[in-house]
């Protein structure tokens, strides 16, 4: 027990404690992956409408040059991750499992890969609107995994106000260390980013929320806070899903975001630390979002590492750099083990939202044999939004999807804590995803019908 025994460590209620496996890459500094021979940049790497390519095959592009435009407000542009020639725009495997359009760029072997239009952007003389536009043009999205366009998050709706800004460095997913390494290695960029965010939001105070398994990073950040920056480091309990926005806000500010509302409704904006550091670098060097830190880890990869990877690099190039995969590798995940997605192909590209790639060997693959629910309450105790997964699971099993609305299925954020603890191996969150999808579809159909009738 530490010296803070009599203080309660900031946290949310409920949640789970998976083994964190952070030691695999914890102490590996960020290495820069050499530029691959070619990259594949999908037009859809963010939540919202896909971007529209503005380059054509054969065209030469410079590293950092705009190659795809945003197609609306909730959309995000894309930039060339390296200098080279556009080979083609084609359908390509996407980490979501679909085929999507992507721009393929062959590296110019003679290029020094210097940044196109490197410059320092003086945000201090800019208005909040100008800063947010600059972030939007830079193609910034949430780097924690959801990839929600940052400029949308920063645009405060009419009549609302952002008083607090929280930097999300909880990194509660097991195995991942990219946020941790960013705290340790990009401290100045994070602080610069915080300054920019505070100005853009008109917020009065910033918090950096991280977990107790990153106590050294918390101390390092705390020691470096510039005296004029209204910022505080909050070291929270190591618990999953501490990094979920609503949980983070509860832990740091003791506020509950009302059901169905957004953090801005309690005057808070949350952004991932990687995004904040990226925004800091945008204003320091003019670098748009063309590369990111990715934790390459798990028992199935020969040399685990934290890599700075150009967006669009194929997974096979990353694997080759890390000395290959073990023969008994059975599962490859984009993201962490709690919310990540399994991959089928090694040519999928690293995207803006890829925080880690996890290689699981045969012995680590979960084989689920389902048993009846024994009503042990573990899921009820785990659910961070206080749902009753046992009941919801029974309703979903009986396909009583509409009854699930009474038990607030739409509040489920699919964190998978219930499935993680269930001693009967019931695929709870898996069923909830299906149920939510069907309910949304049904709602959309009903809306259409009403529209048609009126």
């Amino acid at each position: 027990m530490n010296a803070r025994f009599f203080h309660t460590t900031p946290s949310f209620k409920h949640g789970v404690h998976p083994d964190d496996y952070k030691h695999l890459t914890r102490d590996r500094p960020i290495e820069r992956l050499p530029f691959p021979d070619s990259v594949v940049v999908p037009i859809s790497q963010h939540l919202g409408r896909p971007s529209k390519p503005i380059v054509s095959p054969g065209q030469y592009v410079y590293r950092g040059q705009l190659i795809g435009e945003a197609t609306g407000f909730v959309s995000s542009p894309m930039h060339a991750p390296m200098s080279g020639v556009v080979r083609e725009i084609m359908l390509h495997h996407h980490p979501s499992g679909n085929m999507t359009e992507a721009v393929v760029i062959d590296r110019d072997p003679l290029s020094a890969q210097t940044l196109f239009g490197e410059r320092r952007i003086d945000w201090r003389s800019m208005s909040a609107k100008e800063i947010i536009d600059e972030i939007g043009i830079g193609g910034f999205v949430g780097l924690g995994g959801a990839a929600f366009p940052t400029h949308v998050k920063l645009t405060i709706p009419e009549g609302k106000k952002a008083r607090f800004f929280i930097v999300n460095a909880a990194e509660c997913e097991p195995y991942l260390n990219s946020d941790y390494r960013i705290l340790l290695e990009k401290r100045e960029a994070v602080f610069e980013g915080i300054r920019v965010y505070l100005k853009a939001l008109g917020a009065e105070r910033a918090y950096i929320g991280t977990e107790s398994n990153k106590a050294d990073a918390a101390r390092f950040m705390r020691e470096g806070i510039p005296s004029d920056l209204p910022c505080e480091v909050v070291e929270m309990e190591t618990k999953y899903p501490q990094g979920a926005e609503k949980m983070l806000i509860e832990a740091v500010l003791h506020k509950e975001v009302p059901s169905g509302k957004l953090p801005i409704d309690v005057e808070v904006v949350v952004n991932n630390v990687g995004t904040v550091a990226g925004v800091g670098e945008l204003f320091l060097f003019g670098q748009p979002l063309i590369e990111r830190v990715v934790t390459i880890t798990g028992p199935g990869i020969k040399t685990p590492a934290n890599l700075m990877i150009p967006i669009g690099t194929r997974l096979s190039d990353v694997v080759a750099y890390c000395d290959g995969i073990m023969d008994n590798t059975r599962q490859i995940l984009f993201g962490g083990p709690m919310m990540g997605t399994a991959q089928r192909f090694l040519d999928v590209p690293i995207m803006k939202g890829t925080s880690g790639v996890l290689f699981l060997t045969e012995d680590k693959v979960v084989h689920r044999e389902e048993y009846p629910c024994i009503r042990c309450q573990r899921c009820v105790d785990a659910c961070p939004v206080y749902l009753n997964p046992s009941r919801l699971g029974a309703l979903a099993g009986a396909r009583l999807y509409e009854d699930m609305l009474d038990y607030h299925i739409m509040d489920c954020m699919e964190c998978a804590a219930c499935s993680f603890v269930c001693p009967s191996n019931i695929p709870l969150v898996q069923r909830f995803r299906v149920a939510k999808g069907l309910l949304r579809e049904q709602q959309a159909r009903e809306n259409e019908k009403q529209k048609a009738q009126s």
């Binding site: 599962q331 979960v366 048993y371």
Partner: protein, 344 residues
């Protein structure tokens, strides 16, 4: 590099990690925690305890086996520990002199009528072991209320002949049939010394007498997070509160809280019967209500009912209340107020 497709990659959905505790592990933990209690039963009642426990377990396991064989796709496995647990729990609630065939039938009824008819493990409304016991109590009231003396000198070398009674012949309980602490108190006004109640040196059902030991085993399960500690705590709380008030009114008629807690099946019922997850509420608040209800009902039946013991019926009645309790104690969701609990 050229292999576009890795041949052996599994496509499943998250989560890809799993807490190691599974349902079978939970059941075996409870079985494990019952071992010291079974050992105490052997210590106090000798060979009879061993035989009755074996008969109860055999009855339960045979019925489970038969059900699993007959109905394909029936949930559960013979070695998942649940039938063993039911049989053992039932045996621990039986008098040491009960004919073995009754213990066997009780075990079979526990699984058959207590669990299988509802659809198997997880679907039963009532605690299966107590269903078996209630059946025996109704069918064989004499055998279920004949209590051989505790710690008899020859307990490790011979077993009462009543154990080997032939099915449906009148069971004869030989030797001295002694009173349990509860019947002695309520019918004869004699109180057993508290230290005997604590260590278990009294007559009674096989596994109910060693109150302190049950408490220790329960603490183990609570620490391993195998059961919800709120339920026994709520039972103890309500029993202490109610009996202390009654004791203040008239200590002659109403025994003390300590007596109520440690005499009869209160400890075994509170720690091992009421905490059955399948038949207790899912919500934390519900567990407090459930436990408090059991405590109050057990005391009421003991004090004003025709039976000296009321824990079994208290647990069964509250089992029946569980769905209702769940319905009305549904927690508010994160970010909503209490009044928004039910949207439609």
């Amino acid at each position: 590099m050229m292999s576009r497709e890795h041949p052996d990659l599994l496509l499943t959905t998250s989560p890809f990690v799993k807490d190691p505790a599974d349902a079978s592990w939970i059941m075996w933990q409870v079985n494990f925690a019952l071992m010291p209690i079974a050992a105490a039963a052997f210590w106090y009642f000798g060979l009879a305890a061993l035989l009755v426990m074996t008969a109860g377990i055999l009855g339960a396991m045979s019925m489970e086996f038969a059900v699993l064989k007959m109905a394909s796709g029936f949930p559960g496995k013979i070695l998942d520990g649940s039938a063993l647990l039911t049989g053992l729990l039932l045996a621990l609630t039986l008098p040491p002199g009960i004919p073995l065939w009754m213990a066997f039938v009780g075990g079979a009824v526990s699984i058959g009528l207590g669990k299988a008819v509802f659809g198997g493990v997880g679907s039963n409304m009532f605690n299966p072991a107590l269903v078996g016991r209630a059946f025996l109590q109704a069918a064989f009231p004499v055998a279920m209320t004949s209590w051989p003396a505790v710690s008899s000198a020859d307990r490790f070398v011979s077993a009462s002949s009543s154990l080997f009674a032939f099915p449906f012949m009148t069971p004869t309980v030989d030797g001295i049939s002694s009173a349990t602490p509860l019947s002695a108190r309520f019918f004869d006004g004699v109180s057993a010394p508290l230290q005997d109640l604590l260590i278990g040196n009294t007559s009674g059902s096989l596994g109910e007498t060693a109150g302190l030991l049950i408490l220790v085993c329960g603490a183990y399960l609570a620490i391993r997070r195998v059961f919800n500690w709120r339920i026994p705590l709520a039972i103890f709380g309500s029993v202490i509160l109610l009996t202390s008030i009654l004791y203040q009114i008239d200590p002659e008629i109403y025994p003390s809280a300590g007596f109520h807690l440690f005499a009869g099946g209160m400890m075994l019922g509170a720690v091992f019967m009421a905490t059955d997850p399948v038949t207790s509420p899912l919500t934390q608040k519900g567990c407090w209500i459930f436990g408090a209800g059991i405590g109050v009902m057990a005391v009421v039946i003991r004090q004003w009912g025709g039976l000296p013991e009321g824990v079994m019926y208290a647990v069964l009645l509250m089992n029946a209340m569980t769905p209702l309790i769940d319905r009305f104690t549904q927690a508010r969701t994160f970010g909503s107020t209490r009044s928004e609990r039910f949207t439609r």
